[in-house]
Symmetry: C2
Amino acid sequence: MSRALHDAASGTLFGVALNYQGLLNQRLAEFEQPPYQKPPVKPVLFIKTPNTRNGHGQPVVYPQGIEQLQPGPALGVVIGKRATRVSVDNALAHVAGYTIVNEFSLPEDSYYRPAVKAKCRDGFCALGPELVPAAQVADPQQLSIKLFINGQLRQQNSTANMVRSVAQLIAEISEFMTLHEGDVLITGTPEGRVDVLPGDQVEVEISGLGRLTNSIVAAQEKR
Amino acid sequence: MSRALHDAASGTLFGVALNYQGLLNQRLAEFEQPPYQKPPVKPVLFIKTPNTRNGHGQPVVYPQGIEQLQPGPALGVVIGKRATRVSVDNALAHVAGYTIVNEFSLPEDSYYRPAVKAKCRDGFCALGPELVPAAQVADPQQLSIKLFINGQLRQQNSTANMVRSVAQLIAEISEFMTLHEGDVLITGTPEGRVDVLPGDQVEVEISGLGRLTNSIVAAQEKR
């Protein structure tokens, strides 16, 4: 990824699950069952560990012995200023800028288990191509997000459909933990995830943020 | 924490849930129910984010609006050498040393949800007092682990009762993700967790590793 982005986004990568209305709606029936009995009332967070960091134009290794690999197009929010218990109104003042995230994952049929094994494989979190300063993004809730595989449009949505806005996420998360300069909020992947295979070229495009490109490669027998 | 420990353990903090036989046995009935239907077959991991890092002798803030706070005494394993798909036999060669971890958490009645909100409050992961080189620890599976609250012994167990040994954990985790120099494996908290309150002094002692001390303090209205 670009030097500026690398330097600005060197902190913790926080993923937010179920943050698109269409995806949440698909899951509502499931949440009526045990153990939840009701839909989540707070953001469901997960972590992309540092070994998952990957960049624009870099390969993503298709792990051995898996059945499916899915890209996760998402708006990335780079924190620019320490945030502890900030209000929704004041939240965006803590944003340095925005970038594209492709948060790869093995499909999970539930949200029950810590997702480390499905989400934290080496290279499973691509960021880039650039950090776009917050001042250049008029409204982070009005961005189109598109996923292309081998040039074909496969997933399309808008940040207008987020369950929680960027400002709401920063406020709700900073209520219980401090967000630091360099941390990145991965604000969720829309419904309709697709599978990719070795040889595929995967691109995520967000209006005003450019296009993040990665190629899927087969794992080497020896690493 | 000590300079040497701070420098050596600057990576990702990986928690392992349910890694004491007594605790797993207590949960077995629950795992027969939906959604699992069976006990976990692989290590259940969680992450302690960087904002949770805390040191020996440092205060741990009791968050506002919670009902219970529980210390989590654990053996910390500091990785000294990059580990990718290492064998059980070769695993301990990747360990730089050992330290004590007190992995604080809000109690959770299930393992269903990503535990970020319960486990990743600021200062919720104390490490220390020192890094003890691996060569000085004859057998990491023969260490007594004790929790003292205000000088009273409240929890006691042995690393001999781990479900997965340190070597097994390194082998199973490095099978799907690379462990890097400086990463720390928090190898699990025994059954019988207790509650602490502001004003309490909490100490974790592990044979050969010393004693990690923290005091619980009330949250300030303003931070």
